[in-house]
């Protein structure tokens, strides 16, 4: 389980545009670098990020080796109903992680 830091408001008024910020620990090995022995290190990256709001996809991103290590993604989501925001990261070597945050919308 990689360390994640997520900033999502716990409460919001209906219609507010919330800023969601996510950070996950991951080396994002590009597959283009040579190791100490001169051989190319195999690619090991997070390939996809998705944010779901009450199970409906709101935002997703396909990441490539050009995304820096410890990927940071920030985006906006409209607060329209109380419920759960789910964040999923998937990648090479079976990497899969899900985090969630609850939101109360008044």
């Amino acid at each position: 389980m990689a360390r994640t830091l997520i900033n999502a408001p716990r409460t919001a008024r209906k219609g507010d545009v919330m800023e969601i910020r996510t950070l996950i620990a991951h080396p994002m090995e590009t597959g283009y670098r040579a190791g100490a022995d001169g051989r190319t290190l195999p690619r090991d990256i997070i390939r996809r990020f998705a944010c779901r709001y009450n199970n409906e996809l709101v935002f997703s991103a396909d990441l490539y080796p050009a995304i820096s290590a410890n990927p940071y993604l920030a985006f906006q989501v409209v607060a329209d109903a109380s419920g759960t925001l789910t964040f999923t990261w998937e990648g090479d070597n079976g990497f899969a992680q899900t985090e969630s945050a609850t939101i109360t919308v008044s």
Binding site: T30, V58, A61, Y64, A66, S68, D80
Partner: protein, 153 residues
């Protein structure tokens, strides 16, 4: 000589004047896109015509370290059900691979504004492209100078 090796004459004059006066170069005129980027853009847009505008690619013109470059792409759009950004992508010119990131957006975002951090292998041109729900495609092309860190392992 490739036409994209040097900035076009108007941009060079502006930059030279700015440097001569000692002004920070704040105005970054729309840049003619290199062939490399034009090609990969066509694949993303499915051949649809693209126009400069609506997209604002916020990235430092001079970068201290190409390993971690903060970027923000903002698109002017109401993000309503019938008028929103459907997809957003960033492409580069000189990394080993052209793609940087490709995002799917929905009206539930309220604002088309995405930030991340990217890697740049060297000084090069980048383009951010937005595909709208009405099928139109908009771009913003930027040039970035990348310097190397001092004293590495």
């Amino acid at each position: 000589m490739n036409h994209h090796d040097l900035p076009p004459p108007s941009r060079r004059i502006v930059l030279a004047a700015a440097v001569a006066i000692g002004l920070p170069v704040l105005w970054r005129p729309a840049q003619a896109m290199s062939d490399v980027l034009t090609g990969v853009l066509n694949t993303f847009t499915g051949g649809a015509p693209t126009r400069e505008g609506k997209v604002h690619f916020d990235i430092a013109p001079l970068v201290e370290n190409g390993n971690t470059v903060p970027v923000t792409v903002t698109v002017e759009s109401p993000m309503s059900a019938d008028n929103h950004v459907q997809a957003l992508a960033i492409f580069n010119e000189k990394n080993p691979q052209r793609e940087v990131v490709a995002c799917k957006l929905t009206p539930r975002m309220g604002k088309a504004n995405v930030s991340t951090r990217i890697r740049l292998a060297t000084s090069q041109q980048l383009v951010a492209v937005a595909k709208m729900s009405d099928g139109s495609c908009w771009t913003h092309t930027v040039d970035v100078v990348v310097t190397l860190a001092a004293c590495i392992e």
